[in-house]
């Protein structure tokens, strides 16, 4: 089985602040090596497991210089080939479509059986877009693989477990060629020691293949990154009193039910609250709270 794993670089988690990212885009993108994006570590582990003790796999990255760290780790995990799709700009400036198209174009010219991609939060579109461009099926959120089936030419497939919504899982039989995506932590990765990293670096200099990232020129305007800003939460459509009702009613709705009720009610407003009572009362209080916070439906 020929396995390709797509890796990319990232900022160390505590550094992921907007000022660092902006600096990264403007100042360091050529030299900055980055660290391996965590889900790619799981992807590498899966690629390693899939290709078995004897077989090697290929690691592919894209962008400017920032993927050096990712390729180093890939080598330390046992990637025999390290390929880097070079682009004039850092990978941050590309949208998922451009990247997916470029990866698919590169993969399409070669004969891989399995392409493994990391997908940090499970909502990155790139792995699925790559599959879509290649016309391959995609198995997302893989969290383990069971066994190889006899690899005769007529039936080439692997058994995988896939995570679904709401805690469901399924086991699937996936035929090659196929794109797999993993989230970080789904496949527990091995530790790569500094020494192993360093040895991989020695090997890397001579082993990385640089390719030009194909630019998507089909006459359509691309997606453009306009700005990176600190988070500015969007305003929720909060329920404010209906402007059409009378002032007294508007006020009443602001006051909540407590204003008109005769019996005293514990206040439910000021931050943390500690309540005492019997187990039944507490349980009911808790359910009320969960409903208020929309963790439970009101039925």
């Amino acid at each position: 089985m020929k396995v390709l794993v797509c890796v990319r670089s990232d900022l160390p988690a505590p550094m992921a602040r907007v000022d660092n990212i902006q600096r990264l885009m403007e100042e360091w993108s050529a030299e900055w090596a980055g660290v391996l994006e965590p889900s790619c570590r799981s992807a590498l582990q899966l690629a390693k497991d899939l290709s078995g003790p004897s077989g090697g796999f290929t690691a592919l990255s894209y962008g400017r210089g920032e993927c050096r760290a990712a390729l180093e780790v890939a080598r330390a995990y046992g990637a025999v080939d390290a390929v880097h799709l070079q682009s004039a700009e850092g990978s941050l400036r590309h949208d998922g479509n451009t990247i997916a198209r470029a990866l698919a174009a590169w993969v399409g010219e070669r004969s891989f059986d399995v392409v493994v991609c990391g997908n940090s939060s499970g909502v990155g579109p790139v792995p699925a877009l790559v599959a879509g461009h290649l016309g391959w099926p995609v198995v997302t959120r893989v969290d383990g693989f069971k066994k190889f089936l006899p690899q005769d030419d007529s039936f080439r497939a692997i058994e995988l477990t896939q995570r679904l919504d709401a805690g469901w899982k399924r086991q699937v039989l996936a035929r090659y060629p196929v794109v797999l995506s993993v989230q970080s932590g789904f496949i527990p990765p091995q530790y790569v020691s500094v020494r192993r990293r360093k040895e991989a670096v020695h090997g890397l200099a001579s082993n990385v293949t640089e390719c030009e990232l194909p630019v998507w020129t089909d006459g359509h305007a691309p997606a453009v990154l306009q700005a990176l800003t600190p988070p500015k939460p969007r305003t929720k459509r909060t329920a404010v009193p209906d402007a059409k009702s009378s002032a007294a009613d508007r006020l009443k709705s602001l006051m909540g039910p407590a204003a008109t009720k005769k019996v005293e009610k514990p206040k439910e407003d000021e931050g943390p609250r500690v309540v005492e009572g019997s187990a039944v009362e507490l349980a009911e209080e808790l359910l009320r709270f969960l409903r208020k916070k929309e963790f439970l439906s009101n039925s």
Binding site: T238, P241, L251, E270
Partner: protein
């Protein structure tokens, strides 16, 4: 730290970066007797900046013109050049602490009080302000220029004084709001009628101020989110107004509050007390922010109105209801709140309970502000420089009410070895009882905080100890602080010893079988009176209140009284002012008289008579201990039955000298 990621993150207003989202909005303080920023006022603001407030707005209703004087409530006059040295002094004292400093500029229009400068007051139309009823002069089109110029000059003075920005007030029924609002604008010229016309004056002010101050100075606008008054502006109107203002590109931050200061009720509502839900107005800020964002405007919005807890503030920010949170009263109650939030010491924060009787309530009646639960506020020079004790003493505090708790806390902070004796099974004294009255539960936060601090300090607290002279001497104290509080006072009326006559404290303590039909004699005039009446009414009693005063519950804070009246009315409570009880008859009827004419008549009969009156000092123990211990102090109600603030103040004062 992740808990307050948004609250503590920096944000930009125009060209200026603010270090966090904690804001203090401009508010009155009553601290400026000459209407120039006093040293006390500057220190008060600097303390906020030092404790980490990011955006500090000051000078509530800072007046731009002599036709809108402020000295009746200790406000600032930004009328002429004479204020400049004070402004510079202020910015020099505050800005080094890293806060962004803005000040409010406003003309109060018909809300102004003529009897300071004895100039006529001005308004869009000749309707008087319902609150004080002074007749205004209708603004003529030729008046607009000098009015606008007053705003401009005031803003320029701020700029020259080293401030980062000015906030134009268009809230609280001030002049710009008066033009906007159909309740005060009945004009038919270019300044009345359509929304565009009604907005014209405000737009002229905004344009002129921005043109004058240039691009490197912040200009904010304070506005209501809904006037919440019949025929007034609604949130939909305000969304439109906000959009039109945003389109000018001249305003850098919108500060959204609710209500309008036009009636007693609405004036109270602008500073929502413990009677209102926390964050009552943030929905308005959110609606306006959403409208702005949907239309592509990126102006930061500040929400305010009973934002008391950092977690509450964080939620408001995280849900995108606002970009900044105004936490005035929260920071009055605990100036260190921002710093404690940064340090993650949330349970050390003294939470504002919305009592209002120290801050805004006193300002409305022309007195300088204090904080009912934090005795340090506005006594910074007296109480902040405290010293550790030179010699550790064995201090015994008798009484676990607020005064005793504060005395014990402070004495222990200073290094004394403190023993606190409390008769009942819990700490907090009468405040716990007061908290049982409807809508008064927040009042107990004051003693909750003290109790928490006392536990952290590891003070030896002994509950259920009804200490007598021997008990105390057995502890070999070097100092004794008596904080034994007060007992309920029974009225000296003929027949008042009948079994159906109760005190308000009897009612709140519960356990008494009180009849259905109740005559409530309010001789307390503070919350213990009417709140106990409400307590009874909530429990289906038929309640009639008599008071010899013509403002029933006169000592209740002006910002808590209107909605208390409203609730009592909803509960069917009948209130008779000017009525004095003379004699209780055996059948439950009461002989009363008109307090002014002395005309007598009989009310009732009633099933029960409840009397609320000031307490009786409980100082027996103090008298017994006199001369028997090296140091003996008497504080709080045991000196003379008063209130929470007096007890705390005396407690902290005495603990600083033992």
């Amino acid at each position: 730290m992740g808990q307050f990621d948004m609250l503590l993150s920096p944000a930009k207003i125009r060209h200026v970066e603010v270090k966090n989202r904690i804001a203090v909005t401009a508010h009155a303080t009553g601290l400026n007797p000459n209407s120039y920023p006093s040293d006390k006022f500057i220190a008060y603001n600097a303390e906020k900046a030092r404790n980490g407030v990011g955006l500090l707005m000051t000078m509530g209703s800072g007046s731009v013109h002599p036709t809108s004087p402020n000295s009746d409530w200790g406000g600032i006059h930004n009328w002429d050049e004479s204020i400049l040295p004070y402004l510079r002094k202020m910015s020099e004292a505050i800005k080094p602490h890293g806060a962004i400093l803005m000040a409010q500029i406003s003309h109060r229009g018909r809300r102004a009080n003529r009897d300071v400068t004895w100039l006529p007051i001005y308004a869009p139309s000749d309707d008087p302000e319902p609150l004080h009823r002074d007749m205004p002069h209708e603004i003529q089109s030729e008046d607009v220029d000098w009015l606008v110029d007053a705003y401009v000059q005031a803003a320029l003075r701020l700029k020259r004084g080293g401030f980062d920005g000015a906030e134009i007030s268009a809230a609280h029924g001030h002049l710009i709001d008066q033009f906007w609002s159909p309740i005060s604008n009945h004009r038919s010229d270019a300044y009345g009628g359509s929304l565009e016309n009604r907005m014209r004056f405000g737009m002229q002010v905004i344009d002129a101020v921005r043109d004058a101050v240039g691009d490197d100075f912040l200009v904010g606008l304070r506005m209501t989110g809904d006037e919440l008054i019949e025929n007034g502006l609604t949130v939909e109107d305000m969304q439109q107004i906000a959009l039109k203002i945003a389109e000018t590109g001249k305003i850098d931050i919108l500060n959204v509050i609710g209500s309008i200061g036009t009636t007693e009720y609405h004036q109270a509502l602008t500073v929502p007390s413990m009677n209102y839900p926390a964050g009552i107005f943030t929905g308005f800020a959110a609606s306006i922010r959403a409208t702005l964002q949907e239309n592509g405007f990126d102006i930061p919005v500040l929400a305010c109105g009973k934002i008391v807890h950092p977690l509450q503030a964080e939620t408001i920010l995280a849900e995108g209801q606002a970009d900044f949170v105004g936490m005035n009263r929260a920071i009055i109650a605990d100036p260190e709140m921002p710093q404690k939030t940064m340090d993650g010491r949330i349970d050390d924060i003294r939470l504002c309970m919305g009592a209002n009787e120290g801050c805004i309530g006193r300002i409305y009646v022309g007195k300088p502000m204090i904080c009912v639960q934090n005795p340090v506020i506005s006594r910074e020079s007296e109480l902040i420089p405290w010293r550790p004790a030179t010699a550790q003493k064995r201090v015994v505090v008798v009484g676990g009410g607020p005064g005793g708790l504060e005395a014990a806390r402070m004495a222990a902070e200073r290094g004394h070895q403190v023993t606190l004796l409390e008769k009942s099974s819990q700490l907090g004294g009468q405040i716990r009882l007061a908290g049982k009255a409807p809508n008064r539960d927040a009042y107990t936060q004051s003693v909750d905080w003290l109790e928490g601090q006392i536990r952290k300090l590891g003070i030896d607290v002994r509950l259920g100890v009804n200490a007598d002279e021997e008990d105390i001497l057995a502890l070999q104290p070097e100092a004794v602080i008596i904080a034994t509080g007060s007992t309920a006072r029974r009225l000296h009326l003929p027949g008042a010893d009948a079994p159906f006559v109760f005190t308000a404290r009897d009612v709140l303590e519960g356990g008494e079988d009180i009849g259905h039909k109740v005559l409530f004699i309010d001789e307390h005039h503070h919350q213990e009176g009417l709140s106990t009446a409400e307590y009874l009414a909530q429990r289906e009693h038929e309640v009639t209140v008599i008071s010899r005063l013509w403002i029933v519950g006169e000592e209740i804070d002006g910002t808590l009284r209107p909605d208390l009246y409203a609730r009592l009315d909803n509960l069917g409570v009948v209130i008779h002012p000017n009525v004095l009880a003379k004699q209780v008859e055996a059948d439950g009827s009461v002989l009363v008289e008109n307090y002014h004419s002395h005309r007598e008549w009989t009310m009732g009969p009633y099933d029960a008579i409840v009397v609320a009156a000031k307490g009786v000092a409980n100082d027996g123990l103090w008298k017994k201990l006199k001369g028997k211990v090296p140091e003996l102090h008497l504080i709080g109600d045991a000196v003379a039955p008063r209130g929470l603030h007096d007890a705390l103040l005396e407690g902290t004062r005495v603990a600083r000298v033992v």
